[in-house]
């Protein structure tokens, strides 16, 4: 490491420190407190100093990291690459192991209510990530309003279940259908848009759906939300301690003791199956003409046109199918919570799902799982330190951007490989 380099990066760190000082000085350093009924400014310079030092030192280490990376350019030796290669080679075995683990997970000794809830939440996000991966990863359409379809799925499930009393298995496809229709509805006006413009319109679409749900009081009960959404039943057998007269329940049918965990475990398997269906569907469709056309559209729209691929239909199917899986996840969410309100469908949800897809490495199915475990897990770990959650979340994103700028699993397998 040359003297030049050290000097340069020290200068760089100093500059970073100054910027950090300018930023955190007023935000963190100056705090107003009420003293004797008067507001006084109480400086907290020690904390500011700590943050500034952290930024400067961190910058220095990042410089060294990128310097070293420059040095061994061409050599594949970074940890991320080793992991990616490992996952590439053993991909199938790892996937089978992961599926096997998730099947036996509910019967693990440590799998109490808390862990089951986290697992269900993670699986929901994994399913949403896989669904959005169709739109972003395969078709290359940056959709920042994906939560809209999640919401449409949840509300259509809830409304059909409440008003018509239809069961989960009837409402699920209907909810998917509705979400898919909304996908087409979004798709039409944005056919000609690309990149950032598309992102802005999809973002607005997400907000429009939320505001619609908030204000269409007669249908959605607005901010009060919908209550009393029927819980799912085990193919007609409800999970209830005290069933209505003459109704057989899950535990009486199988001759078990009643246990509230039975329903949780059922929900867990439900979302696991839904998520795996989403994944299997995506893997399959990538090998079909439609999926191939999506990927081609991501690469080059003009080339697609000149080859006779209809860009309109291709985009609309991507939006519709991506939205449909969002809708399925939404109906699962509704039946699990038994209560939904527009609160659950804010932009931050879209942002988290997009982050999961992008940080996982766009188009990588395994990447979605890894980044979900990482991001959602991180949020959960920091649950007790509520106010630091977002700091950890943002910090994690910055770290991934520095060390794996194209996503955790940027290296994606070609669709077709020659037999060995």
């Amino acid at each position: 490491m040359g003297k030049d380099f050290i000097q340069k990066s020290l200068k760089d760190s100093l500059l970073t420190g100054i910027i950090a000082l300018a930023l955190f000085g007023p935000i963190v350093g100056l705090r107003t407190v009420a003293k004797n009924e008067v507001l006084v400014v109480e400086p907290k310079w020690f904390i500011v100093l700590l943050i500034v030092a952290l930024c400067a030192v961190g910058r220095f280490f990042i410089n060294i990291y990128s310097y070293k990376k420059e040095q061994r350019r061409g050599e594949a030796s970074s940890l991320g690459k080793i992991i990616a290669n490992f996952l590439d080679e053993k991909g199938a075995q790892i996937a089978i192991a992961a599926i096997a683990f998730s099947i036996i997970f509910p019967f693990m000794p440590f799998a109490d209510r808390y862990w089951m809830d986290i697992a269900i939440m993670m699986l929901t996000y994994i399913m949403l990530g896989w669904g959005l991966n169709i739109v972003i990863g395969l078709a290359g359409l940056l959709d920042l309003g994906y939560v809209a379809f999640y919401a449409v799925g949840a509300y259509s499930y809830a409304l059909f279940a409440i008003h018509f009393g239809w069961s989960f298995w009837v409402c699920l496809p209907i909810a998917g259908l509705f979400a898919g229709m909304f996908g087409i509805l979004l798709g039409f006006p944005v056919l000609r848009l690309r990149g950032d413009y598309l992102a802005i319109v999809t973002l607005a679409f997400g907000e429009m759906i939320r505001i619609l749900l908030l204000n269409w009081y007669e249908l959605t009960k607005g901010p009060d939300g919908l209550t009393g959404i029927p819980r799912p039943s085990f193919f007609g057998l409800p999970f209830k301690r005290y069933p209505d007269e003459g109704v057989e329940t899950f535990h009486t049918f199988f001759g078990l003791e009643y246990d509230p965990m039975q329903r949780i475990i059922f929900l867990y398997y439900l979302i696991l199956v839904l998520a795996l269906i989403t994944n299997a569907f995506t893997i399959k469709i990538r090998r079909l003409p439609v999926g191939r056309a999506w990927e081609a559209l991501r690469e080059d729209e003009i080339a697609c046109k000149s080859l006779g691929v209809n860009p309109r239909n291709t985009k609309l199917t991507a939006f519709a199918i991506g939205a449909m899986f969002g809708g399925f996840a939404g109906s699962f969410f509704a039946t699990r919570q038994a209560f939904i309100s527009p609160e659950s469908f804010t932009f931050i949800e879209s942002a988290i799902i997009v982050a999961i897809v992008v940080l996982g490495g766009m188009g990588s199915q395994t990447g979605v799982v890894l980044s979900t475990i990482f991001l959602i897990g991180l949020i959960e770990v920091f649950r007790d330190f509520e106010s630091y959650r977002m700091v950890a979340f943002g910090g994690a994103m910055v770290l991934i951007m520095i060390f794996r700028p194209r996503g955790i699993l940027a290296k994606r397998k070609p669709t077709i490989t020659m037999g060995k």
């Binding site: 990927e295 080059d300 080339a303 046109k305 000149s306 080859l307 070609p414 669709t415 077709i416």
Partner: protein, 237 residues
């Protein structure tokens, strides 16, 4: 077979084509030459439907195609090899070929058609599982032509197939174009900067200047035309 008459195409307010008349007969190789910005690529894109003609008619097999969307035109039997190849860089070579076959009854005849492409460009067969972006420029051009051939076209539109390719490979690619024309009976409409090569290959040629056809004639005649020589060929005054 293809009859372009009085075609005008605009990019916003800028007029790129000012009433172009070009005729391509069945079985011919027709070359369109001209300098940068003359509107050569625009004309090809207008025929293939990627751009739309504001005025004029494009008749293919006595059918007016000037208002049809691009994917319909491919279905009718016109395939385009776009300028700069436009390979799907992150898809495999096989995926690229399969996408070319997407109009061909959704790739039902993939095995047979791809075999014909490998006969034309044997190098592609060894690279099927490789990503398009990892091929050399010449190989990418071969892939682009092969991809267009997968749709079983009756007419092939080639936009600057020699662009950015090693001279040795250019010869090979031009030989393949001739082969496609003679053996596979595909009519070829070719746009080229490399005027000499193009006119040597072509039965007939057109010279496009500022969005208008200025000279037309048999390939050999254009090669010997002093104006063409001066403007587009070496050895001119």
């Amino acid at each position: 077979m293809l009859n372009i008459s009085k075609v005008e195409t605009f990019y916003g307010n800028i007029q790129a084509l000012r009433g172009v008349d070009v005729k391509v007969n069945e079985g011919e190789i027709v070359a369109l030459i001209g300098s940068n910005g003359a509107g050569k690529s625009t004309l090809l894109m207008t025929v293939s439907g990627v751009n739309k003609a504001a005025n004029g008619e494009i008749i293919f097999d006595s059918k007016n195609i000037s208002n049809l969307p691009a994917h319909h035109i491919v279905n009718l039997g016109i395939s385009q090899v776009p300028e700069g190849r436009r390979i799907f860089a992150r898809l495999t070579v096989e995926d690229n070929l399969r996408l070319g076959a997407s109009v061909n009854e959704k790739g039902k005849n993939f095995e047979k058609d791809s075999k014909e492409v490998y006969d034309l460009f044997p190098v592609l067969k060894n690279r099927l599982s490789q990503r398009g972006g990892t091929l050399s420029g010449g190989e990418q051009q071969m892939l682009a032509i092969g991809r267009a051939m997968m749709a079983r076209p009756r007419m092939l539109l080639l936009d600057e197939p020699s662009l950015g390719i090693a001279p040795k490979l250019v010869n090979q690619i031009f030989a393949s174009i001739k082969n496609i024309n003679k053996e596979k009976k595909v009519t070829v409409f070719l746009v080229e900067q490399n005027a000499k090569k193009a006119l040597e290959l072509a039965d007939r040629g057109y010279v496009l200047v500022n969005g208008k056809i200025s000279i037309e004639g048999a390939g050999k005649d254009l090669l010997n035309n002093p104006d063409v020589q001066a403007a587009y060929l070496e050895g001119g005054k």
